[in-house]
Structures are given as C-alpha cells and as structure tokens.
C-alpha cells in the first residue's frame, strides 16, 4: 500500500484538474491577451477561474492577482506594499514561525531600511494578541501573519488579529499567508479584515507553479517585476492559463464539501495522534482542537533520527517529511518554527511531519501506525553510544 502523508509539501492533482489543463495546453492554448478567437477562448478560462475564486472568498474580481505560487504571492504582497507605503512608515510586524518566503523577504526589507518585529509564539505555536498590540506603533505599516503553520499546523487567531490591527489603525495593511490554511478553514478576507492573502495551487490538489494573491482594491501596491503590464501592471507576464484554470478547478471541487472533509480529517488526525501515543517517548508538537490544522501532525520520536525514520517508512511506501520539505535540504538547517515553540536540538532531530489530504483514509493511517510500531523499537535499538 502506498501511503502519501506529505500533503503539506505538495498534493496529488485531482484528475479533473489534469483534464482541464490538458484541454487548454493542447486545444485552447491561445494567449489570453491575443485579439483573435483563440485569445478570447483562453480569456474565458481566466474569467472562470476569477469567478470561482471571488465567489469562494466573497471578494471582487479586480482583487485577484495570479502568480507563480506561494513564494511569489508572499514576495509581491510584502515588497509591493512596503515599498509603496514607505512614506507612511517603515515598521513591519510578522511572527517568528512564518514560512521562509515571508521570513527571507522580511530580511531583505530590513536591508532596505525597514524595521521588523518578530512576534514570539507559545509552546503550541500560537501568537499572543497582547504581543501584537504592544508591537504596533505609529510607524507600523504592515502586519504579516500566517494562517496555518506549515510545520506544526498551528492556526493563528486571524480574525481577532485583523480586528485588533484595524481597531488601532485602519491604515495598517494586514497580510495573511494562507498557503497551508486555504481550503482547510473558511477564509473570508473582507470579514476578517485581511488586505492581502497568499494562496498556492499545488497544496490543494491543483498544479505546481501557480497561485494567487488577493489584494484589497484600496491598497497601494508597487509591482516587483516589469513587462507587458498584464494584470493591471501589478504582475506582468503572460498568464499561465492552464495553471490558473487547473487551480480554479481544484478549488471548485474542494470547496463545496469543505466542512465535511475537514471534519473527517480532524477525526482521522485525532485517531492518528492517539495511535502515536501508544508508542513510548513520543511527543506530539501540533496543537489540538481548533488551534491545530486538520491535516498536520508533527511529532518527535525521542532518540531517533528523523531522516532515518523517514527512509525506513519510505521502504514501506509511506512518505512523510522531516521538518518541512522546503527546509530539509539545507545545510545545518534549524527549523525556526520548532525553535520558536521551544524544542531542544535533540528533539528537533527526531521530528517528523505527517500531513493528510482528502485522499487520506483510516486504512492508510492504520497501516502507518502498524509500521511505526514495528520500526520504532528496531531503530531505537541502534542508537549512538
């Protein structure tokens, strides 16, 4: 049995997504900017995608910018608004556990003369609203808080944060990286006072290389790349029509049953966590209940090297992640998130992330638990002495 539990790294495409993309790539391959019929046909797919996204987020169609994925959405959101609003202030706020697409961009902005406050998190990986309140000052122009953490699955109090920020100063721009949270929780930017929302296609059974950024139309924003002035000049470049339509198809499929699917995932997650607790010396790092995403279980197997466990599971066709996939290939990498929730170095080196999708079944999780019961004692036998 092949068990794919690395859905926070990427997901399998829905077959319908692949179909519509094939149709576009092979038949309706026009450039949506072309004036002839082929162009118009391509543009219809964009219309379709925009409709689906705006309907689900309950926003206007001028507020969606298509990008190449989560990283570009985050970069455009942060650099594009910080540079356009620098005259109003030069202070930015984010959290210590953001994805590197945000953290690295913040580092860049620091070099450009902005000051950044990194909010700490508690053991569960959740920020404290008081910290946020205290961090905001007259110079603050932008707050960026991720919806769901990619490593441990902690879910931030986004609506409350939005209310707090706008209560202090309605001019402060609020960005939310929802790459992991989108399609796992209902998100309505207007209601939650979110001005910028980053979403990626391939985390929700869509294609890689595509994503979007919701931009509140009242926000001042500069482009970060230049060219043919597509998408109102904010994001130049020929639109990735197959990718965009594919992503929209995925959203169209996933959204109607979101509540049921998420409830089912929560149940599976609870079951899996209970199963993990049967193993001695295992700590679950993901927060439970509403503070935890339904699809991420991060656990530390004390005394085991996560890479070894990962490969041992791989031999059984079970695919998981040690840390987050984006980080796993870096030298001497230390996860900012795991550090921020207070894990020791030893604990970090034994940490594995299991992440689920709509495809995950209880049979798969049982199989995984059984294998873990077999493998863990074996691996624990061979430790460094």
């Amino acid at each position: 049995m092949e068990v794919y539990l690395d859905n926070s790294a990427t997901t399998k495409c829905f077959p319908e997504v692949a179909e519509i993309m094939k149709q576009i790539m092979c038949e309706d391959y026009g450039n949506s900017s072309s004036m002839h019929r082929k162009g118009v046909r391509a543009e219809k797919y964009l219309r379709y995608a925009t409709d689906i996204i705006t309907e689900n987020l309950k926003v206007n169609d001028k507020e969606i910018i298509f990008t190449s994925g989560g990283t570009e959405s985050d970069n455009l959101a942060l650099i594009g608004t910080a540079s356009a609003n620098a005259r109003a202030g030069r202070h930015l706020i984010t959290t210590a556990i953001e994805h590197s697409a945000v953290l690295e961009t913040m580092k860049y902005l620091e070099k450009e003369g902005f000051r950044v406050t990194y909010l700490p998190v508690d053991q569960k990986g959740i920020i404290c609203l008081h910290d946020l309140e205290r961090a905001i000052n007259r110079d603050t122009i932008l707050v960026s808080i991720m919806h769901t953490n990619n490593e441990i699955g902690s879910v931030q109090p986004i609506a409350a944060a939005g209310e707090l920020i706008k209560g202090i100063n309605p001019q402060i721009i609020f960005h939310v990286d929802a790459v992991q949270g989108f399609s796992k929780c209902p998100i309505y930017p207007k209601r939650m006072m979110i001005d910028l929302l980053s979403v990626s296609g391939h985390k929700i059974h869509g294609p890689k290389g595509v994503g979007f950024l919701y931009v509140n139309e009242k926000i001042k924003m500069n482009p970060i790349s230049f060219g043919g002035k597509q998408q109102r000049g904010i994001r130049s470049g020929t639109l990735n029509v197959p990718g965009i339509a594919g992503m929209a198809k995925a959203i169209e499929i996933i959204m109607p049953s979101l509540e049921d699917d998420v409830a089912k995932m929560h149940e599976l997650r609870q079951y899996f966590i209970e199963g993990l607790r049967e193993i001695p010396d295992v700590t679950v790092n993901s927060p439970g209940g509403v503070h935890g995403a339904p699809h991420i279980v991060n656990a530390t197997f004390i005394g085991i090297k996560s890479e070894v466990l990962l490969h041992a599971l791989e031999d059984n066709e079970i695919y998981v992640s040690a840390g987050s996939a984006c980080a796993a290939h870096k030298i001497n990498y230390q996860s900012a998130t795991l550090k921020a929730i207070g894990l020791s170095k030893d604990m970090m080196s034994g940490t594995i992330r299991f992440s689920f999708s709509n495809y995950t079944s209880s049979a798969e999780l049982n199989f995984t638990l059984q294998k873990l019961y077999d493998i863990i004692p074996m691996l624990r036998k061979y430790v460094k002495k």
Partner: protein, 398 residues
C-alpha cells in the same frame, strides 16, 4: 585567447610519455584514444592524428572552441594544448605575410617582446631554422615597430614549424598532466560521499590508472539522495578517468550485526575493515590491482597511524592513499579544481553517523579487534557474501 574561428587545429604536447622508451607507442595510442573519447561530447567533428611523434587534433567541421579546450584539458597525459594554424607551403613571402596577419589578429597589443621559434623538420625547405628565425624576426619588426626581440624571456613566443604543412602557434594552454588512463591497469576506489575520496580517485587516475569504484549504501540510514550524490561524484571524476563501474553494496545488515556484537568504540574500525575486505574481493573479481582510499593521516579517529594499520591489515592488495600527507585545505582546493567540492558538501551525508561512537578509539589494538571480530563468526561470512551477491553495478560516465 578566444579566437575560435581562427584556429582549426590543436597541437597536443604530452607530459611524461616522451620518456617511455620502447613502450612509447602504447602510451601514445592510449592518449589518442582518450582524446577521441573526450571529444565525443563536443559539438564538432575531429580527426586525431599521430605523425612523427606529434599528436594533432584537427577540426573537420565547425566546432566550439571553448568546449574543445575544456574537453582536452580533462585528458591525462596532455601537458599543453596549442591552438594552431596549419597553412600550405606557398613560398616564404606568403608565410611572412601570413605571420604578420597572425600577429595582428591574435595579439592585439603590439608593444611586447617576442621571439621566433622556427623549426625546419622538412629538410628541402630553402632556409634552415636559424635563418628562418632571423628572416621572420625581421619581417615582424618591420611590420610592428613597437615590438622588440627578447630571446630569453619573450612575452610572445611565435612557433613556426616547417613540416608537410607549416604550423604556427603561440599559445600553450596548460593541460591536466599525468599519464593517459589505461596505461597502468585498474584499481578500486572506495568512494564515499565526502570530499576526499573523489580527489583520491582523480589523483590515481592521473597516473594512468583506470578506475572502478565501490560505495557502501546503508538504507534507511543513508538515503537515496546520498546514493545519487555518490553517482554524481563518480560522474565528475569520470570526466578525467573515463567510464567508471560503480559497485553499490548494501551494507546495512553488516553494520547492524557489527553494532550488535562488537564494542561501540571499535565500530568504525571494524566497519572499515569489512569495507576493505569487501572492496578487495570485488577488486579481485574485476581485475583491479589495488585499492584506493581518500585517507589522510590524523584527519579523524579512523585515520590515525594505528587505525590505518588496523584497517590495512585485512587486505593483501596494496592500498593506495594519495592524500595521505595532505591537509584538509589542500584537499578542498583540489576538490574545487576538479569540480567535486560543490557536490561533496551537499548535506545528505550518511546518516550512519549514529554508528560512530561518541568516543571512538584512536589507538586501536589489533589483537583486541581481531578478538572482537570473532564475535561475528556465526553470521558475518554469510552476510558479506549476500552483500556482494546483491550488489548493484552502474556504469558511470560523462
């Protein structure tokens, strides 16, 4: 330097082959073979010819100059690569005219010192070498008044060789040196994913030795990426050494068995002894005449003189350790030069570090080690045999 459309030929200067007496033709044949092999990847058709103690590479079609030089620079046995113009002999005046043109085209700057190094190999040419030097020198001085002659340390050495055709060259691009691969038998390289072993393989190949390599894979303690990294390293080394047969041994069961049965401080030494035994057995099956390792004295616990003696003791084949007296920084410099460093430092290092004791022995006692290896008697032969039987062999080449 880059006059790609100017030169159509290269004169190949060889390193030590010149001194090989009656075996010389064997070395030259090997060199021609290696040159042809290296040029296979280059865009263009080439003829590689050997005439009267000279090797020429002649382009038969349009070709990429930079790629050609890059390829030739990877061939052991070449000391210098001279981009060359070969012209028909149409009389001295034509030669003089051409030489002026050549200097004009190839050497923009004219306030430099020069020397003509003429050589008349075809004795029916009307002027001898000395006369040619004088006459051509005069021609250049007339054409470029800013140039001066310096016979001792010229900035520009203009070689003019009167053979069947007239060869003119003035640049010597340094080659890789060494001896052509295939002139000195074959040896088995113990290749890990680290910095040292690929360099060790390069150095032995440089002496004309063909390489086979063995890698010890320990899933799940080492990942598929670690294995791919070793394959990538072998591929980079094969740029110089020619194709390498890479033998991949699954070492996990042996490692675990040693872990179970032997004292932990000695795990690494005993593990290495079994790696050497296995490597030697494969070496003998594949007609390798020695083993090659990247060891250097004192670098880690398993490379002290006592540890080296303990690992050396288990093989009868000679073990070549070309890096034995090198400092780490020297090895890194070499690794950077041959292009393996970037790959070596990728972080999917073997996770089998868990098998390294926190305090491994640095002065192993061979008697004790032999005694502790007796603990393995029950199953070890069977495990070694199984590991060799199930080995995977990949042909790795550029």
């Amino acid at each position: 330097m880059q006059h790609s459309n100017y030169y159509r030929s290269f004169l190949i200067k060889y390193a030590e082959i010149g001194v090989k007496g009656k075996n010389r033709y064997l070395f030259e044949d090997a060199l021609v073979r290696q040159i042809k092999y290296s040029l296979k990847k280059v865009n263009g058709d080439f003829a590689v010819t050997r005439t009267s103690g000279r090797i020429y590479v002649n382009a038969q079609s349009d070709f990429d100059f930079a790629d050609t030089v890059y390829a030739l620079k990877s061939v052991f046995g070449i000391s210098g690569i001279c981009p060359m113009v070969a012209m028909e002999d149409e009389g001295f005046d034509r030669l003089a005219e051409f030489l002026v043109q050549y200097v004009e085209d190839v050497h923009g700057q004219k306030n430099i010192t020069f020397k003509i190094a003429a050589r008349r190999s075809r004795k029916d040419y009307p002027f001898d070498s000395m006369e040619l030097n004088a006459r051509l020198g005069g021609v250049i001085l007339d054409a470029f008044p800013a140039m001066r002659v310096d016979v001792h340390h010229p900035e520009l050495m203009l070689h003019v060789e009167i053979r069947e055709k007239i060869n003119i060259y003035s640049e010597i691009i340094p080659g890789q040196g060494g001896m052509p691969v295939g002139t000195n038998g074959k040896a088995m390289l113990l290749l890990s994913g680290g910095i040292d072993s690929p360099v060790a393989g390069y150095m032995i190949a440089k002496r004309g030795v063909k390489l086979d390599a063995v890698y010890f894979h320990a899933p799940p303690y080492t990942s598929d990426r670690a294995k791919q990294k070793v394959i990538d390293l072998a591929r980079i080394v094969s740029r110089f050494s020619g194709p390498i047969n890479l033998h991949i041994i699954n070492f996990t069961d042996i490692q675990l068995y040693i872990y179970d049965k032997c004292p932990h401080e000695e795990l690494t030494i005993i593990m290495r002894r079994y790696m050497m035994r296995i490597a030697e057995q494969i070496a003998q099956e594949t007609e390798c005449l020695g083993l090659i390792t990247g060891e250097s004295i004192g670098q880690v616990a398993s490379q002290t003189l006592k540890s080296l003696a303990a690992t050396n003791e288990v093989c009868r084949l000679p073990v070549y350790r070309p890096l034995i007296g090198f400092d780490k920084i020297e090895i890194i410099n070499l690794a950077e030069r041959i292009g393996t460093y970037e790959t070596s430092i990728q972080p999917f290092e073997d996770c089998c570090t868990i098998f390294v004791a926190k305090h491994p022995v640095t002065k192993p006692n061979i008697k004790m080690i032999n005694k502790h290896e007796k603990n393995l008697t029950e199953k070890i032969d069977e495990l070694v045999e199984a590991a060799i039987e199930t080995k995977e062999v990949l042909l790795v080449q550029q």
